[in-house]
């Protein structure tokens, strides 16, 4: 029983990592219908920038965090202007390919600048494990779970309560109608890409102490993508729940079936869900938004 609880708790930690990345995918997708495959790379960039501000320039942690997120948000908006806006009338698939290309360029760019350097982000919270009811946890992993939940709530409020958020929602529902209602679509798109990139950067900074910083650390992004599909790509809470579920399933499968089957099990689960409930587990039949 202790093992089971431990497996679930570790799965939730893993799920919180996926959730942070998955959230960025969903935010951009909801508004633009584009799956941004450079999300993982933006996350990597956020982590590297924060590391630079924190360890090289010796700035305080909070300032490094804010700076990294801001730079990535600006970079995201710039990418929208330079790479994606010219393609605004192209088929969505072209845009998706453009994000793949941008992601590759970012990875290669980082590799040129930093080589294949491996860095560890110093943890601001202790990573020393302690036990609650036989389950080993660290303050670091607990705080990541908490922060993931917090960020999700913040973004849901942003979409529902603020004018900019509502504008984004409107743009994603019907671009022409939104324009007629006075929503500046170009500005909204810039904001969305900036928000998505900021989210990815925040995820990167939070994740960094749990994994390692390399040009390839963005590959974890694909798990966030899968988790989001599992839960429902159009719904923020659905996607987040899916990501947590994916983390738990991976761990359960890995421990109770075979560790080498971990990925097989989660992909099988994905295929099953897509066959039975194509909109995702936590989204209604019509693909309603939360």
């Amino acid at each position: 029983m202790e093992l089971l609880t431990q497996v679930v708790v570790s799965g939730l930690t893993l799920g919180s990592l996926y959730a942070l990345v998955g959230l960025g995918f969903v935010v951009i997708f909801r508004a633009t219908k584009v799956v941004n495959f450079a999300q993982g790379e933006m996350m990597m960039l956020g982590a590297i920038l924060a590391l630079y501000f924190y360890t090289d320039l010796v700035l305080p942690y909070w300032l490094s965090f804010i700076l990294a997120v801001t730079v990535c948000a600006l970079f995201g908006a710039a990418l929208e202007r330079l790479a994606y806006r010219p393609l605004i009338n192209a088929p969505v698939v072209t845009l998706i390919l453009a994000t793949v290309a941008v992601g590759q360029m970012m990875r290669a760019g980082v590799r040129i600048l930093r080589g294949s350097e491996v860095s560890r982000f110093p943890s601001i919270l202790p990573a020393e494990p302690f036990s609650i009811a036989g389950v080993t946890v660290t303050p670091l992993s607990l705080s990541i779970i908490a922060l993931a939940v917090l960020l999700v709530c913040a973004f849901m409020l942003f979409f529902r309560k603020t004018t900019i958020g509502k504008g984004m929602e409107a743009t994603s529902e019907n671009r022409d109608a939104a324009t007629l209602c006075g929503v500046d679509v170009h500005r909204t798109f810039s904001l969305i890409w900036a928000a998505g990139s900021a989210l990815a950067a925040a995820a990167g900074v939070l994740l960094a102490p749990l994994i390692i910083i390399t040009p390839d650390m963005g590959t974890i992004g694909i798990k966030g993508f899968i988790g989001a599909i599992l839960g429902g790509f159009t719904s923020i809470p659905g996607a987040i729940a899916g990501c947590f579920l994916l983390g738990v399933i991976e761990n359960l499968g890995g421990v109770y079936v075979a560790s080498s089957m971990k990925d097989v099990i989660s992909f099988l689960m994905l295929v099953l869900v897509l066959t039975i409930k194509p909109n995702g587990l936590f989204v209604g039949e019509q693909g309603q938004r939360a």
Binding site: L14, G115, S116, E117, V118, S123, I211, T214, E250, S260
Partner: protein
């Protein structure tokens, strides 16, 4: 029409003259004034550190040889290409080196993944190859007269580590976590077979993961449930770094050991303080970046003066520097011995005659007619509390 016919004839005659000249030449890649030596290696991509180390080392060696007037009056013409650790790229550049550049021999080579696919071509074309990166067993399976290796292969490294775990650390319940590629599976096989045959023990746990994974909690939880007192992490350094940290975070108290790929500073950079006490094997006698062995100090000084006056890039010099440099030194010794009249066959014979050759930066190298494995020694190293590696012991020919 007539003009075209004349032109064709002219081209054909020029070509025949060139071919005749080539035939008259003593050996491919050798002229009176130079010997062409080729390298394909990863200079870009995730494992570029290995290739850049090897390329710099051979370049430095070639410069030294040329500065003192070459070998029997012939200077080294060193040609290197990037294969980005891709098997396809490796195939392409090997063809270019052998057919177009017509090199006399190949040096260093690439990571196992893009060295093994070209070993057949190398053997078929009878091009001597002194390897200093791949530690994969299959480089020598089946045995090739033309392929030589500078340092202990991965089986020797794994055997050395098992011996250390069982005999010196007195591990009772060993466990292993390994990556699901050739490297990891090979390490697992050596580990479990050796435990069974020599120590009559079965692993308490054996878990595998896929390369590129960033979370290992499922595997580590299974390992924790098996309650081992020693865990061998047969993984590449980046992944091993995360595994070490997650093992500590999950409360695993077993002593941690690593396969040969973990003996780089990258491990501590990923693992942080959790790495303290982690033990690994090194295929050279000391740590390239800090060693006070005279040969290594001299190498660092020369490399710095020649290529990095402003300081070394992170992770350099590495053991691949040392192995690459040693490959150059062994090549030089064999070419000196062959004399003025160079041929590939004579060069291979000379290499097979190398006995206890001291390169100053690696273990002594010996080759024979039946064995092209240059060394069977490994150094046991451990992470100190200040997160630097330290040498602990030397294990020979396990």
């Amino acid at each position: 029409m007539e003009t075209i016919r004349k032109l064709c004839l002219a081209i054909i005659s020029v070509c025949s003259a060139l071919l005749a000249a080539a035939a008259a030449q003593a050996e491919t890649g050798v002229t009176d004034s130079e010997i062409r030596i080729g390298m394909w290696t990863p200079l870009s991509g995730p494992v570029s550190l290995l290739g850049q180390s090897a390329r710099d080392a051979v370049r430095l060696w070639a410069k030294e040889v040329n500065d003192k007037g070459g070998i029997h009056g012939r200077k080294i013409n060193f040609i290197s290409y990037d294969d980005a650790a891709s098997p396809q790229e490796a195939q392409a550049v090997i063809r270019r080196l052998i057919d177009q550049d017509q090199v006399f021999m190949l040096i260093s080579g690439s990571v196992s993944g893009s060295t093994l696919p070209v070993r057949q071509v190398i053997t078929r074309d009878k091009v001597p190859f002194v390897s200093s990166i791949s530690s994969n067993m299959n480089l020598m399976r089946p045995f090739s007269r033309y392929i030589f290796r500078i340092y202990a292969n991965e089986d020797t490294q794994a055997l050395g580590m098992v011996q250390w775990m069982m005999e010196r650390e007195k591990i009772q319940r060993p466990a292993i976590i390994y990556t699901s590629n050739d490297y990891g599976v090979g390490g697992f096989q050596v580990f479990s077979e050796r435990l069974k045959e020599k120590y009559k023990v079965t692993p308490a746990a054996a878990e595998r993961y896929n390369q590129g994974d960033q979370d290992f909690s499922a595997q580590l939880l299974r390992i924790k449930a098996a309650d081992p007192d020693g865990l061998l992490i047969y993984a590449f350094a980046q992944e091993a770094g995360i595994i070490v940290r997650q093992a500590k975070e999950l409360g695993i108290t077993a002593k941690l050991f690593g396969g040969g790929s973990t003996s780089t500073p990258l491990l501590q950079r990923g693992a942080g303080p959790a790495a303290v006490g982690f033990t690994s094997t090194l295929v050279v006698p000391d740590l390239a970046d800090v060693s006070q062995m005279p040969g290594m100090v001299a190498y660092r000084d020369k490399l710095k003066a020649a290529l990095y006056p402003d300081g070394f890039p992170p992770g350099r010099p590495s053991e691949y520097d040392l192995a690459g440099y040693a490959a150059g030194k062994v090549t030089e010794a064999a070419l000196e011995k062959v004399g003025k009249d160079v041929s590939r066959e004579a060069f291979v014979d000379a290499l097979e005659g190398v006995k206890d050759f001291d390169t100053g930066v690696t273990f002594p190298i010996s080759f024979g007619k039946d064995s092209h494995e240059g060394s069977r020694q490994v150094e046991i190293i451990r992470v100190r509390p200040d997160l630097k590696w330290e040498s602990v012991a030397r294990i020979g020919a396990p």
